[in-house]
């Protein structure tokens, strides 16, 4: 194990050092994170990196392989365009977590902001707390699991992918062009495995799944009058 102190260091230098360290070290402890933006950008490898503190925007962007543990909060866009590996945030994230994520797993032990999983393309996003509005909007793939409450417009215009939710009020907050179906056995098993791996104590039987509607076109209402008479 090696320790890296980021105090007084900018993100470019911090990532340069991390890129060197992950070539030889299995575990890297990072201190002095001072909510640094662009932490662990595009790291490729298998090391476990633990940040003892909060990090800023774009934490773990384009990450490919390593396990990133943030013992604090992260800013917006956590795990943007992430390719593979793991990001475990012990507290909360800002909005737009996991945008356009391709693979790997992000686990947020606390809450996330609006638009979590925006345009996700693959991998798993697990939020143990709540998510804000328009989460899972226009996903192209992947799996989002939310244990807490969801915001309005959940899953709006998903193209592919799946969202598992427990929120009993999800139906009234459902986005357009998606529907709620019961979670199937295969998804239950896979979700159970994820929970077991990340120490999440939650059963899977009560989850509902949000999936894209199966018809061939998305529908959008661009005119929403309060009065309408059918002739």
């Amino acid at each position: 194990m090696v320790r890296l102190d980021l105090t007084g260091m900018n993100s470019r230098n911090a990532n340069k050092k991390l890129k060197v360290l992950i070539q030889t070290e299995d575990e890297i402890e990072v201190v002095g994170t001072h909510s640094i933006h662009n932490f662990a950008t595009a790291l490729i490898g298998k090391s476990k990196i633990t940040a003892h503190g909060s990090t800023g925007f774009y934490t773990g962007g384009f990450l490919e392989g390593p396990t990133l543990v943030i013992e604090g909060n992260t800013g917006w866009y956590t795990g943007d365009n992430m390719m593979d590996g793991e990001i475990i945030v012990q507290m909360n994230t800002g909005s737009n977590a996991a945008p356009s994520m391709l693979g790997g797993t992000i686990v947020i032990k606390g809450n996330s902001g609006s638009r979590a999983g925006w345009g996700m393309k693959g991998g798993n996003l697990v939020v143990c707390g709540n998510v804000g509005r328009w989460s899972g909007k226009m996903t192209l793939g992947g799996r989002i699991i939310v244990l807490g409450e969801v915001g309005e417009g959940i899953g709006e215009s998903m193209y592919n992918g799946i969202i598992h939710v427990l929120d009993p009020a999800v139906e009234e907050k459902l986005g357009g062009n998606v529907m709620i179906v019961p979670i199937d056995d295969k998804e239950k098993k896979e979700t159970e495995l994820i929970f077991k791996k990340y120490g999440i104590e939650q059963g899977v039987d009560d989850f509902m799944s949000i999936v894209p509607k199966v018809y061939g076109r998305h529908e959008y209402k661009l005119y929403k009058p309060t009065h309408k008479k059918v002739i």
Partner: protein
Amino acid sequence: MSKIDKIPKVKDIQRGVWNNETIAEIKYKAEVGKHRIRGCGTPRKFPNFDDLLILPAQLTRMPVDTYREDCKTQTVLGARYAKEPLVIETPVMISGMSYGALSKEAKTALAKATDIVGTSINNGEGGLLPEERDNSYKQVVQITPSRMGFSLRNIEAADAIEIIIGIGAKPGLSGHLMGCKISEEVAKFRQLPPGIDLHSHPRHGDIFGADDLCIKIEELRDITDNRIPIFLKIAAGRVWEDVKIAAKAGVDGIVIDGSEGGTGAAPVIAANNLGIPSLPALVQAVKSLEDMGVKDEMSVILSGGIKDGADLAKALALGADAVALGTGVMVAMGCVVCLKCHEGKCAFGIGTQDPELRKRLDIDLAAQRVANYIQAITIEATILAKAAGKSKLCNLEREDIRSLTLEACAMTGIPLVGTNFTFGDKFGFC
């Protein structure tokens, strides 16, 4: 029959705005109750580069011999911060057009054309086809809001990156790709269900505003180790402010897409009414960068309505470093600008995913025609530049041009022909 009955009727006379197009639009809306989608971009006529003329060298300076002396065309873009700027043999690039809007054959032909003539292609929204990258001379990779087909691998394959904020044909709107073009193959490439009408993201999921753009660009610099240029493309609107934000955010160059720009599909109302034309947009962009004192270090690339060497020469004279062509290179391949790209039945195998129609495009022939076209307009620009006394295309300057119309004079601040008259401080470059 009476004498008066023999007089031809005036059925073809159109009354002001109530012309055939207006009537067709109203009938369409009355039938379906919503806006119309159409391909190619706006058919409207805007003030353009034809409203400028180039002053030939006579006694104040000497012309360069058209046929026996050189005029250098090699162009370097994105040298502000990038260690390996984009070096192309002509200031004519191929603009971003997606695989999906265009067939694989068309994309491959365009890529091959860049290798023949020594310029760059831009992959557009729908991911980077291996056939495109394998055949292109220089590859610009777009980072689009949807990120369809995008990954770290695309950045690694790029000679330059272009963050796209908007396009001139439908600024403020997202990409539209009609279901007829989302074949099984395109769907797989973009992770979409086949046959769905795609209305893509108008905003980046990881760039919510100018401040975040600064951090995002730093992220991309980190990934690329400052090796390749990062451009940012905006649709021409509030150009003065947008260009300043882009420059401050730290990009190497700015792509200005005027409202003449083409598209595979857009709401007609958007194409016809959103954004401003390329000519005034370019002036405003250049002036904005000059105001910041960074014009010499930032590259300016203009797209939207560029059709020939005169447009190229005039754009360079106004301060562009290069132009990017979309519709022009499609026409070189066979497109007739029928405004039906959105229907996916392109008879020339260009704007279609129909396997039978795609067979109609001879890739190598189309590549050669596009290369010929780019070569020809580059030569045209050198003819004009040499006549203006320039041994390098990039040496064309504002002093070499004059406005043909009062409108162009007011828009550009370039003096009216036959005068040194301009409209004063509030217009153009004055």
